[in-house]
Amino acid sequence: MVLLDFEKEIGKLQEQLEKAINIGQETGVDVSSMVSDLETKIIDEQEKLYSNLSSWERVQVSRHPERPYTLNYIDYITDNDFIELHGDRNVKDDKAMVGGFGTIDGETVMFIGQQKGINTKMRQYRNFGMANPEGYRKALRLMKLAEKFNKPIVTLIDTPGAFPGLEAEERGQGEAIARNIYEMFKLKVPVICIIIGEGASGGAIGIGVGDKVFMLENTWYSVISPESCSSILWRTWDYKIDAAKALKLTASDMFNNKLVDGIIKEPLGGAHNNPKEIFKTVKKVIKETLTELKKQDPEKRITTRINKYTDMGVFNEN
C-alpha cells in the first residue's frame, strides 16, 4: 500500500503491526492482544485523519496510484459482461477514453469514462487519462448509440484535463468538448455522471453534463488544478495548498454550492483501501438513480437537466 505524505503516522503503526506479527511467528509468543491493539489504533488514526482532510489532501487521495480507475468500476458493476466499443469513426481510437455497453443486473447501460494507466507503461498508453478530440467524439458517438436504443448512460470522470497537444488543437479540442456539452443536453435517455478521481475543467465537463452528477468523497472537480491555479494567480507553483482551498473543489464544497447533486461515501482511508466496497456503493447509487430517472418523461428530464445548469451562477443585480 502506497502511503501519502500525511499518512506517516499510519505507516509507523503498520510497521509496528508487521513486527509484532513476525515476532509472534518466530518466537511463538502470544501477540494477539498487541496485534488487535495496533489494528484498532490504525483504524482510529485513519478515522481521525480522514474525518478532517484538507482540500489538498483530498486532491492527493484522488490521485492515489492504487485508486481504482474507470475500467475497474465497469468490470465489477457489469459483472464482467462489458463489451468495449472503440473509435470515433473518424480519426482513431483514443485510449484515454473508454466506453461500451454492459449490463447492471440484466439492464443494459452505456458506460463511458476517461481511463488512467496502472503502471508507467500503461500511463503512457492511456495518455494519463487526458483525452484528445477523438476521445470526446468517440464518447459522443457512444452516447448517441445509447440514445438510439434507449439505453441509459453512465459516465465515469477521472482526468487531469483534456490533452493540450498540437494535434489536439489541429483536430479541434475546443469544438469537440463544446459539441459534447451541447449534445448531452439533448440526450433523451437518463445520464448519470460520477467523478471517481480527478475532475479537471473542460476535460471533465466534456463528458460531465448529466441529470444527476455525483462526486466520490475524496475527489475534486474544478475549473483548473490547484497547481496550475497557483502558477497563474500566484505566479509560482508553491501555493497549490492555498489554491486547493480557495477553489472549493472538494465533494462537500461542490455539493454545498449546489454544483453537484450528491456525494458518494468512500471506504475508510479512500477508495483504494477497499475497492470492492466502493464498487458496490457506486453500483447501488447507479441503480437507485436510474430507477428514479426512468420515471420521468424524456422531455421533462431534458428540461430539468437544462434548468439545473442554467440556475448555476451567483451575481448581483443593482
Binding site: 497537444g165 460531465g208 437544462i306
Partner: protein
C-alpha cells in the same frame, strides 16, 4: 485569461522595446505604430481605417468600437447593464477577488467581461453579446453566463438573430467551478436558441481560448473570425511545454483554424458589417 500572447506577440513586443529611438518621435496620442510592420501612421487615419494597418494587422479594439463599426447609425440598446459579479467562494489569491473586481471596474469603466446589446445591422435586427477582454482577460464568470442566457432569451422572444463576439482567455478562476459550469449553462441556452430556429453567429476575435472556445464560441451556426486571431483550447505556452518544441508559424491563428475545418470564413474588419448584413439576409429570406 492567461495566455493571450504567443511567441509571435512576444517577439513583436521585444521589437518595440529595442527601438527606443522611434518611441521618442511618436508624440503621445497622435500616432499609431503597427506592432507587425512597424509602420507609423497618424492615429486619425488608423482609426478611419477601423484600427487596421495597411499591412493587414488588426489591432485589438474593444466592444464599444465594434458596436460603432457594426450598428446602423451607431444606435443600440444595452441589456442588463447593471449586472456585476458576486464572490460566492470568498476567493482570495494574492488579493481579494472583490478588490480585484472594484479595481478593474474603475480602470476599465466596465461592469464585467461582457456587454449585451440590441440593434440593427443593415436593417436586420440582431442581439450581440460582446466580450470585454480588458475586464480580467475577458474571463467567463457567472455574469458572462447569465448575460448570455438572458440575451438568448431576448433573441428567442423577438426572433432576432444572435451573435457572440468572443474575446477571452477562458475561465474566471476566482469563480472556480461556478465559472466551469457557465460552459454548460451557455451551451444549454444555445440548444434552446437552436430549437427556436433563431440563427447564432459566433465571431471569434483575438484572442479566444480555454473554456470559451470549448463552449459557445465553437457552437455557431456559422463560426467566423477576423484575420490573424489567436483561437484555441489550450494556450500556446502550455502546448509548447507539453510537446517540448516550438510551435509552427501561424499555429492557432484564424487561417490555421479555418484550414482545419473549424471556421466557416475569415472576414476583414472593413468587410465585417456588410458580410454580417449579407449573412443575416441569407437567414431571413
Amino acid at each position: 485569461m492567461t495566455e493571450e500572447n504567443n511567441g509571435w506577440f512576444n517577439r513583436v513586443e521585444q521589437g518595440i522595446n529595442t527601438e527606443t529611438k522611434d518611441k521618442k518621435e511618436i508624440k503621445e496620442g497622435l500616432w499609431y505604430k503597427c506592432p507587425a510592420c512597424k509602420e507609423i501612421v497618424p492615429k486619425e487615419d488608423h482609426e478611419a481605417n477601423l484600427n487596421v494597418c495597411v499591412c493587414g494587422y488588426h489591432e485589438r479594439v474593444n466592444a464599444k468600437r465594434y458596436f460603432e463599426i457594426l450598428f446602423d447609425d451607431n444606435k443600440y440598446i444595452e441589456l442588463n447593464a447593471d449586472m456585476t459579479s458576486a464572490d460566492p467562494l470568498g476567493f482570495v489569491d494574492t488579493k481579494k477577488y472583490t478588490d480585484r473586481l472594484v479595481a478593474t471596474q474603475k480602470k476599465s469603466g466596465l461592469k464585467d467581461a461582457i456587454t449585451t446589446v440590441v440593434g440593427k445591422i443593415g436593417t436586420y435586427d440582431i442581439v450581440i453579446a460582446a466580450m470585454n477582454f480588458e475586464f480580467i482577460g475577458g474571463s467567463m464568470g457567472a455574469v458572462v453566463g447569465e448575460k448570455i442566457a438572458r440575451a438568448i432569451d431576448y433573441s428567442i422572444e423577438n426572433k432576432a438573430p444572435f451573435m457572440i463576439i468572443s474575446k477571452s482567455g477562458g475561465a474566471r478562476m476566482m469563480e472556480a467551478a461556478f465559472s466551469l459550469m457557465q460552459m454548460a449553462k451557455t451551451s444549454a441556452k444555445l440548444t434552446q436558441l437552436s430549437d427556436a430556429k433563431v440563427p447564432y453567429i459566433s465571431l471569434l476575435l483575438d484572442p479566444t481560448t480555454g473554456g470559451v472556445t470549448a463552449s459557445f464560441a465553437m457552437l455557431g451556426d456559422v463560426n467566423i473570425a477576423e484575420p490573424g486571431a489567436l483561437i484555441g483550447f489550450a494556450g500556446p505556452r502550455v502546448i509548447r511545454e507539453t510537446i517540448g518544441r516550438d510551435l509552427p508559424e501561424g499555429f492557432q491563428r484564424s487561417e490555421f483554424v479555418k484550414e482545419h475545418g473549424f471556421l466557416d470564413y475569415i472576414v476583414e474588419r472593413k468587410n465585417l458589417k456588410n458580410t454580417l448584413a449579407q449573412q443575416l439576409r441569407m437567414f431571413a429570406n
